[in-house]
Amino acid sequence: MAKVLMKGNEAIGAAAIKAGCKFFFGYPITPQSELPEYMAREMPKAGATFLQAESEVAAINMVYGAAGAGARVMTSSSSPGISLKQEGISYIAGSELPCLIVNIIRGGPGLGGIQPAQSDYFQATKGGGHGDYKMVVLAPASVQELTDLMMEGFDIADQYRNPVMIIGDGMLGQMMEPVELREPQKRNLPPKDWATTGTGGRGHTNVINSLFIDPAECEKHNLRLKAKFDEMEKNEKKYEIFNCDNPDLIAVAYGTTARIVKTVIDKCKEEGINVGLIRPISLWPFPYEVFEEYADKTKAFLSVEMSLGQMVEDVKLGVNGKKPVHFYGRTGGMVPVPDDIVAEIKKILGGAK
Amino acid sequence: MAKVRGKVTFMEHRCKGCELCTTVCPVDIVKMAKDRINVKGYHPATVYEMEKCIACGNCATICPDTVIKVERLRDND
C-alpha cells in the first residue's frame, strides 16, 4: 500500500478499521474529537458500528458488553474522560475482556487544559482503576508507529484477554505524517469460545464476571491474572535505543517528547556532547533491564517528560542506583524546548565532571 | 361432575419457611409443618389434607423459591 498523509487522530481510526475493529463507543472530548468524528463517518462504510454514548462511563461499559459478546471493540478519550473510564477498565481487566483504549492525554489535574501532556503515566501504568491488574500501555512517537501499535494492540488484547491502552497527546493527534497501514506480525490468537453469544447448541452457559465473593476464590482468580500479566511482561516489552554507544548521558523519553529529545541530541552533538536516548515504547511492561545494562555505558540518566516526574520513578528502578537519575519536565500543557533541555544536560554533566 | 383433584409436592429441603404459600390456598390446606425442621432450619410448608387439593397452582405461583410442584389428577389416578 502506498503511503498516505494522515492526521494522527484519523490514523488511529483508519488503523482500527483496518485491524477489524467493528465497534467504537465514545464520547466527545478535546483533543481527540476528530477520532470519534472520523469513526462516525467511516465505520458504517466498513460495516462497523459507531455509537456516541451518554458519557465516558457508559461508553466503557458498552465496550465491556461488546467485548464480552465477542466483538473487536475500542473506545477513546482524553485524560478527564479516561478517569471516568477507570471503573470500567478495572471490570474489563477483572472479567478478562479484550479491548483497546486510546488516551490522548491533556494537562491536568481536574479539568486542566487541552494542550499536550504526559501526566497520566501513573494512571495508565500503575493501575488507574481499583484492584490488582495490569494492561499493556503503548506510547507511539510518530503517526506511522501509532497505526502500527493500534493494529498490534488489538491482537495483544485478544491474545491475553486483557485491555490494551495506547497513549498519545494532542501533538501526535494533530500531527500529519505519511503512513502505511501495515499488518502486524501474525500472532496465534485463541478462539473467543468464552463470549456470550447465546448458548446456541453449546451445551453450557457462558458468564462474563469479575465477582468472586469467596476470598480464597478471589485470590485464586488474582493469581491466575498475575500469571497472565507475567507472560505479558515477558513477551511485550518494546523500546528504542538511539545513539547509545557510550554516550555522556542517556536521556529517557517517550512519545512526542522523544522526538524533541532527538533534536536535543543533534544540538548537543554540535557542542561536542554525546547524548543517547532510551525510548520506552511499552510503558507497561517497562523495559527495566535495558537501564541496568546501559548504566555501565554512561555517566547519568535524564528523564524528560511532560509531567512533574512520573516515568522517572521507573527509570530509577531500572538504573537501580548504578548512576544518578535526573529529571526535567514541563507540565500543564507546556512542551519542553530543546534549548532548555540542552542547558539542563550541560548543568548535569558540568556537575559530574 | 367429577371433582378436580390435585397433588402438590414440596422440595422440602429448599423451603425457607416464608409462609407465603399458606396465605393463597383457596381451600386452606397449605400449612407449616411445626413438627419438623428442614436442613435449612425452617419449618417447611406442607399439605396434610391432600384430598382437598384442587390443583389451582396458587401456592407454587407465589413461592419465591420454586419449591412446589403441582399436578392435576384424573379420576382414575
Partner: protein, 249 residues
C-alpha cells in the same frame, strides 16, 4: 397419568436462590425464566446482572450472562445488543442500580430505543448493603440512612421511573406490575412476555417495573411485607401500562 400444572422452568439453573425467606426476587427470576422458555429463546438470550441483591442472577438464569458494574447494565446490554442484534438481551436491575447510580444509563438506553428488555425490581430500599434509603424509598419510610423516615425537604420525593421513561419516544413498552398475589404474579408474567415479544419484534426499548418486597430490611414478616407493599407502595407507584408504542398496540 397426572397432568403437570406447575413445575420448575428449564429457564432456571437447578440451584437454590440465596435470597432471604419471602423475598420476591425469586418469583421475578422465575417469571423471566419461564417467559424465556415459553418464547423458546433460552439459547439466544443474553442477560445482564446488576449490582445489588440480584448480583448473582448469572448463577440462576439458564442462559449466557454478563455481570455489570453498579448501574451500568443498560450500557453493557447496549454493547451486547449492538454486537448481536438477533439475540434476546435483557438487564435485571434493582432500584438502587437503575434509579440512582445508573439513572443516566437507563434514560439513554430508553432514549435510543435500544432493543433490550429491562426488568426493574423496585422494593424501595437498598437490600444487599443493609437497608439504606433508595431513590424509591417512600416519604416517611425508615431506612438505615433515613432513620427518622425519609424527609421530603431533605432527600426529596421518590423517583417514578416508569412514568419518567414513558415521556421518551424510544420505549415501545413500559408497564408497572407487582407480585403480591397469584393473580398479580400471572399478570406480571404476561407483561414480561409482552415486553420480550416487543423486543423480538424490534419495536424498541421495553421495561417492566416490578414492585417487590424486602421483608428483612423492612423489618416485616414476608406475609406482612406483601400487605405493606399493597398499602403503601401501590398508591405512590400505581400499577399499569405507561407506554405502548403504536406498533405494540
Amino acid at each position: 397419568m397426572a397432568e403437570m400444572v406447575f413445575q420448575r422452568t428449564k429457564g432456571l439453573q437447578d440451584r437454590p436462590f440465596h435470597y432471604c425467606p419471602g423475598c420476591t426476587h425469586g418469583i421475578i427470576h422465575r417469571l423471566v425464566a419461564e417467559v424465556l422458555e415459553e418464547l423458546d429463546v433460552l439459547d439466544k438470550a443474553i442477560g445482564v446482572a446488576p449490582v445489588g441483591c440480584s448480583v448473582f442472577a448469572y448463577d440462576y438464569f439458564n442462559c449466557d450472562m454478563q455481570e455489570a458494574a453498579h448501574g451500568r447494565a443498560p450500557a453493557v446490554a447496549t454493547g451486547i445488543k449492538r454486537v448481536h442484534p438477533d439475540k434476546v438481551v435483557f438487564s435485571y436491575q434493582g432500584d438502587g442500580d437503575l434509579a440512582s447510580i445508573g439513572t443516566a444509563e437507563i434514560v439513554h438506553a430508553a432514549m435510543r430505543g435500544e432493543k433490550i428488555t429491562t426488568i426493574f425490581v423496585n422494593n424501595a430500599i437498598y437490600g444487599m448493603t443493609g437497608g439504606q434509603m433508595a431513590p424509591t424509598t417512600l416519604v416517611g419510610q425508615k431506612a438505615t440512612t433515613s432513620p427518622f423516615g425519609r424527609d421530603k425537604d431533605h432527600a426529596g420525593s421518590p423517583i417514578r421511573m416508569s412514568e419518567m421513561l414513558a415521556t421518551l419516544d424510544g420505549p415501545a413498552y413500559i408497564e408497572r406490575v407487582t407480585v403480591t398475589t397469584p393473580a398479580h404474579v400471572r399478570k406480571a408474567k404476561k407483561a414480561i412476555k409482552k415486553a420480550f415479544q416487543a423486543q423480538i419484534e424490534r419495536k424498541g426499548f421495553t421495561m417492566i417495573e416490578v414492585l417487590s418486597t424486602c421483608p428483612t430490611n423492612w423489618g416485616l414478616t414476608p406475609v406482612e411485607a406483601l400487605r405493606w407493599l399493597e398499602e403503601n407502595m401501590i398508591p405512590y407507584y400505581p400499577l399499569g401500562v405507561y407506554k405502548t408504542s403504536e406498533e405494540v398496540k
